[in-house]
């Protein structure tokens, strides 16, 4: 059994997600007045990847076939096409972006808090409770 378990790894993935989400929100807000800009959002498909790796086996019968595991990262940025809030083709909803920004910030701080908690409990074990 590893010293760190899976907790740090999960928290790291979540931090990665929160970081990419923050960049996406910053980009959406920066482009709030750009004509025809479509808002981006971030999908966290860690759970989906885990489920897929359990019972979904794929084989490539030809080298020219597309690889099924192209998704190297746990996060994926998608563009929300198909809606328009502004008459200039832009679909950035500032209210939503600002709410997401606040949520994401607290989420990030909670994750950092949890990582620190994990480290301090490890440290307490290493020191034998002293």
């Amino acid at each position: 059994m590893s010293l760190f378990g899976g907790t740090i790894q999960s928290l790291e993935n979540s931090l990665q997600y929160a970081s990419v989400k923050n960049q996406t929100i910053a980009n959406n807000i920066a482009n709030v007045d750009t004509p025809n800009y479509k808002a981006k959002s971030v999908q966290f498909n860690n759970v989906l990847n885990e489920e897929l790796s359990k019972g979904f086996k794929t084989t490539r019968t030809d080298a020219r076939h597309l690889d099924f595991s192209t998704e190297s990262s746990a996060v994926r940025v998608t563009t929300n096409t198909g809606s328009t809030y502004n008459h200039n083709g832009n679909n950035v909803d500032v209210d939503k972006e600002m709410t997401d920004l606040a949520k994401n910030q607290i989420y990030y701080q909670a994750l950092v808090d949890r990582i620190n908690g994990k480290f301090s409990s490890l440290q307490s074990v290493i020191r034998g409770g002293n």
């Binding site: 970081s19 910053a26 980009n27 482009n31 007045d33 750009t34 004509p35 606040a102 701080q109 990582i115």
Partner: protein, 151 residues
């Protein structure tokens, strides 16, 4: 991917909105300028209203292809001012026979600047600027928090 990506993105938004504000200021300042340029006939022309054109950065084919092949997610890299265009709307004619630029009928061509439109634009630029400042502060707080990992 730089850790300061989000801050740079918000910074580009601030720059763009400030330039938009500069353009609006110029429009308002020149709302009565009848001698802005000289046309091919050697006559004075009034000031033409200027508009900023925004486009999002990191959307070119090459950058999207690079992102796709590198396997990283394309979060975009902010906004840029791609052009400052002039408004093609015709100049308004105002009857003022005493004006030095009045034509033979006593009419003066005045700039196609609508102060109302400029004020609305200015409010929009201010609010967008504020939103970018908020986003920048959020990114800053997150980075500062990240430095606390393992402390």
């Amino acid at each position: 991917m730089s850790i300061f990506n989000a801050i740079n993105t918000s910074g580009s938004g601030l720059t763009a909105q400030r330039l938009r504000m500069d353009t609006i200021s110029s429009n308002i300042a020149n709302a009565d300028t009848t001698r802005a340029t000289v046309n091919e006939n050697g006559e004075y022309e009034p000031y033409r209203r200027k508009m900023t054109v925004f486009s999002s950065k990191g959307q070119s084919f090459s950058s999207v292809l690079n992102q796709a092949t590198a396997g990283s997610s394309n979060t975009g890299s902010g906004v840029k001012v791609s052009d400052i265009e002039e408004d093609d709307e015709p100049f308004q004619l105002v009857y003022n026979p005493n004006h030095p630029d009045a034509n033979d009928d006593g009419y003066v061509e005045v700039p196609n600047v609508d102060p109302l439109q400029e004020m609305v634009d200015m409010m929009s630029a201010t609010r967008s600027y504020e939103a970018n400042v908020t986003a920048l502060n959020a990114s800053k707080t997150m980075l500062m928090k990240a430095l606390e990992i393992g402390k």
